[in-house]
């Protein structure tokens, strides 16, 4: 028995098949937070409570949610909430659990946010490849509308709010908050330069809050149980419970709701998740999706919370932990990552449009064992020049992991240089590298 226990708050009723229905959700205490807020709290008090809870965004950037809400200016313009349900970061599959199993929870959180920021419309931007989430959420909204929980004069108060599902159509970049807004307005999903930030100028140039599904689900419990209760969970900097998706070479893959700060990353992977399950040792761990640095087996003893993982040189990102064992070529993993980002670059700004595919081509060269002397330095330099020079963080999401692979598995890259190919166990690859156009 592992010393690690799941602490289910958001997923508490995920196993109850009725939870996705309004009746089931209400039976389990649903919409109590909304009732409480509308009856006894001002919008500012809701924001204050969220701020006090220490909740940080669960979409990947970890920005304090309450602070973001406070950026919404006083204005006569309409305000909007855009729920980020584009969940496309490799390894991430947590928002899907909420939407498929407990969509009312996201809906209630969204309504609370709208009440706090004074929005009368919320759009839930769900990636198009999630047809089940789309259906479940649409059904939940319909039920809620019929029950007077969405629409005009919610619960008989003068708070009115419409909520709509907006399906995406297959573009990772639309998870970036400004690209999500451009896409929602009916365009190619191009990130926008900041400033202005969405909270000031978002949808149709009106103040717009973009929040991740899980962040909003947390809000429900913060309002129900209070900021102090939420702060009592997890640890400083990582308050509350968080959903983690563990995948790859792992004996017990899954989505787990955990409190941070109570155990190490190694304990999580080796005790709680049962190790690789392949009979081989862990070779690398990407603890926060593919956008952050890989950790090697000697780096897993950090405490499992945002700040500690950051100190260890990576990030908990979107809560997606991908593990691979030592049968895998690090160069091949790096190529898979490079392919992903070069395919997903929106093509708007120079360094990323031109650089991401150059990086892919370079890594592929190592993978084929056709790299040349100096290519490692070239790869590092090209990625350096993409770092911090682009419109959005997609370029960095390519640069950071790729550079970490080169730094931490340098000998495998060196083996990809023609002359040395034959000498190394990962030097030549039997599998042809077929890249996805």
């Amino acid at each position: 028995m592992s010393k690690i226990q799941e602490h289910r708050v958001m997923l508490k009723y995920a196993d109850d098949p009725e939870q996705a229905t309004l009746a089931g959700y209400r039976h389990n205490g649903g919409y109590k937070a909304l009732e409480k807020a509308l009856e006894s709290m001002t919008p500012d008090q809701v924001t204050e409570e969220v701020l006090a809870s220490g909740l940080r965004g669960r979409g990947g950037a970890g920005f304090p949610t309450g602070r973001k809400w406070q950026f919404v200016p006083e204005t006569d313009k309409p305000k909007y909430l855009a729920v980020n349900a584009d969940e496309s970061e490799p390894g991430t599959c947590k928002d899907r659990q909420i939407m498929e199993l407990d969509p009312h929870q996201m809906l209630e959180g969204s309504l609370l946010c709208c009440y706090a920021i004074g929005a009368e419309t919320a759009y839930i931007y769900i990636r198009g490849e999630y047809p089940h989430s789309i259906k479940a959420t649409e059904r939940a909204i319909e039920e809620a509308r019929e029950a007077g929980l969405v629409g005009k004069n919610i619960l008989g108060t003068d708070f009115s709010c419409d909520v709509w599902v907006h399906p995406g159509a297959g573009a990772y970049i639309c998870g970036e908050e400004t690209a999500l807004l451009t896409s929602l307005e009916g365009n190619r999903g191009y990130p926008r330069i900041k400033p202005p930030f969405p909270a000031v100028e978002g949808l149709w140039r009106c103040p717009t809050i973009v929040n991740n599904v899980e962040s909003l689900a947390c809000v429900v419990h913060i309002i129900n149980n209070g900021a102090e209760w939420f702060k009592g969970l997890g640890c400083e900097g990582s308050t509350g419970t968080r959903l983690f998706c563990v995948s790859g070479h792992i004996a017990r893959p899954g989505v787990y709701e955990l409190e941070c700060g109570k155990f190490t990353l190694r304990e999580l992977l080796e005790d709680f998740c049962g190790g690789t399950g392949t009979g081989r040792p862990i070779k690398g761990v990407m603890p926060g999706g593919s956008s952050f640095q890989v950790l090697t087996p000697d780096e897993l003893d950090c405490t499992f919370d945002s700040d500690s993982v950051q100190k260890a040189g990576s990030s908990l990102g979107s809560g997606a932990i991908m593990v691979f064992d030592d049968s895998v070529s690090a160069v091949e993993v790096a190529l898979n990552i490079a392919e992903f980002y070069s395919h997903e670059s929106c093509g708007q700004c120079t360094p990323c449009r031109e650089g991401s595919d150059w990086v892919r081509k370079l890594v592929a060269r190592f993978c084929r064992g056709e790299a040349r002397e100096g290519d490692i330095e070239l790869l590092m330099d090209v990625t350096d020049r993409m770092d911090g020079t682009t419109i959005c963080a997609l370029a960095e999401a390519l640069v950071w992991p790729v550079q970490s692979y080169v730094r931490k598995f340098r000998s495998e890259f060196e083996a990809g240089i023609t002359r040395r190919a034959a000498e190394h166990e990962f030097g030549g690859f039997s599998k042809p590298v077929e890249s996805v156009p």
Partner: protein, 511 residues
């Protein structure tokens, strides 16, 4: 600190004060410092996609794009240092890895910002050894514009111009990543009457003019900064000439007149300047004669006719020419002083409904606007007629009402005295454009060595009428005479009008 809507910042060690809201490219411009940029244009929305305008701002961990960074009080920014250069060099390298580098056959060579900046900010050698991305080349976007996707750096200036300025929204972007390319409407043709501005805007050779393609390398041309005369707007232009021919016309910046744009109609309307069939010497009774002979004959006819003569001026004439014509009328006692005033549809951007450059000047100088039937020219003995431009003329029946005709025209025609007409690019002078703005025409060349401008020819006629008259020695002197004669011109000088024009004085101008 600087109050009242201004901010003071330090750029490369020098302080500068600029209005609040100014971005760092414009702030640097005040100091004469050029921050390289491709996708930024002051008249278009800021998208920050090219990333070449990186600068260092103290207190900011990353390099910032100058186009989207507002100048703030106390800001310290650097446009040149190792870090900035490295950033720019990186962007240049990225821009070039998939660029075809066909400068030797590219029309843009010589005014290509990619070539330019590569020289200043590039490392020189390419470290990219893989296959370049191939995209469509030589794509027709209709009769005027040709697109080369491999050369395109995706700055979207053309997309934004058509959407935000021309209002036609007809170019968009397809695909993703390094496959992106521009696309136009399904029928593949641009429709905007302003579409050729995207050729000028394009910082590289991705958009070329079908009209100008491969006509000349830039460095073989000479340039005249003048204006367009196809309507009363008087868009400021730079005319590229070579061997006494006009090769192209492009807009020249004037914030008070045309911004950075001009209409395609005006831009393409220069065939007459290159017409080899044009009249090159005056004629009397069909025979070629020296100017002096023609002038004498014209003067004789006018003196004889006196009050029974009429003068029909052209609104394509400069103020100076009109002024001499007015003096001729005074000297010969001609009362009927008219001018043909062509009009047509205008639009909300630039195109004016008056289809000539100087109807205002003609009116100021006492000529009366008439339409083409001109009642005024009824029973007259002599008609002194300066024809306007091709396609605009008095009906023959009107001309036929006169017994004798002194005509200024481009081509051979029946007249007692015929003077060759010159085009706008062959003369110096001024006009009064829309908004009562005095603007200058600047001579680019004279087509035939022997050709005199209308001003010179009319001055000879006037000399024949009035022995004491001295022709103006310079365009500036001719202007001074106009200015002295017309109250609204008070305070204006030829140099003061300069390359960008100047508004007329307080006096109301007759409509």
């Amino acid at each position: 600190m600087s109050g009242n809507g201004n901010v003071t910042l330090t750029i490369d060690g020098t302080e500068v004060t600029v209005p609040k809201g100014t971005n760092l490219i414009e702030a640097a411009r005040r100091l004469g410092t050029h921050v390289p940029h491709y996708c930024y244009h002051p008249a278009l929305s800021v998208v920050g996609n090219c990333r070449i305008c990186l600068v260092e701002v103290e207190g900011m961990p990353k390099l910032q794009i100058a186009c989207n960074t507002e100048a703030r009080d106390g800001m310290v920014m650097r446009t040149r240092n190792e870090r900035v250069e490295k950033g720019r060099e990186g962007v240049m390298e990225f821009l070039l890895i998939n660029h075809p580098l066909d400068c030797t056959i590219c029309d843009q060579a010589g005014e290509c910002k990619l070539q330019d900046y590569a020289f200043h900010h590039g490392a020189g050698v390419s470290r990219f050894e893989d296959e370049k991305v191939h995209k469509p080349k030589n794509v027709s976007w209709g009769d005027r514009v040709v697109f080369d996707s491999e050369r395109c750096i995706l700055c979207t200036l053309c997309v934004r111009f058509l959407d935000e300025v021309a209002g036609t929204d007809e170019v968009s972007i397809d695909a993703r990543g390094d496959q992106v390319t521009l696309i136009v409407k399904a029928d593949g043709k641009l429709t905007s009457p302003y579409q050729m501005n995207i050729i000028d805007l394009c910082p590289v050779g991705a958009l070329t003019s079908r009209d100008f393609r491969f006509k000349s390398r830039l460095w073989f041309m000479q340039f005249a900064d003048t204006i367009c005369t196809s309507c009363a707007r008087g868009c400021n232009t730079t005319v590229g000439v070579r061997d006494e021919r006009v090769l192209r016309m492009v807009p020249r910046h004037n914030a008070d007149v045309n911004g950075d744009w001009m209409c395609d109609h005006g831009r393409l309307h220069f065939a007459i300047a290159n017409d080899d069939e044009r009249l090159s010497v005056p004629r009397v009774d069909g025979r070629g004669v020296p100017y002096a002979v023609a002038a004498q004959r014209a003067a004789d006819l006018l003196r004889e006719a006196g009050d029974s003569a009429a003068a029909v001026a052209s609104p394509f004439m400069t103020n100076e020419e009109l002024h001499v014509l007015k003096l001729i009328c005074d000297a010969a006692g001609i009362e009927k002083r008219l001018f043909l005033n062509p009009v047509g549809p205008g639009d909300e951007l630039l195109v004016h409904s008056e289809k000539s450059p100087n109807a205002r000047g003609a009116a100021l100088l006492g000529f009366e606007a008439v339409d083409q039937d001109c009642e005024g020219v009824q029973e007259i003995d002599v008609l002194l007629y300066v024809t306007p431009r091709e396609g605009i003329a008095l009906p023959e029946t009107v001309e036929a009402r006169a017994k004798r005709r002194i005509v200024f025209a481009f081509h051979e025609r029946e007249a007692d005295v015929l003077f060759p007409l010159t085009t706008w690019i062959e003369k110096d002078g001024t006009v009064v454009s829309a908004g009562d703005r005095v603007q200058r025409l600047v001579k680019g060349f004279s087509r035939f060595g022997s050709l005199l401008t209308e001003r010179a020819a009319l001055e000879m006629v006037l000399q024949a009428l009035e022995a004491g008259f001295e022709p103006a020695a310079t365009p500036a002197q001719a202007f001074e005479r106009v200015a002295a004669a017309l109250a609204p011109f008070e305070g204006l000088t030829f140099t003061g009008v300069g390359a960008h024009g100047a508004p007329l004085g307080r006096q109301e101008v007759p409509a």
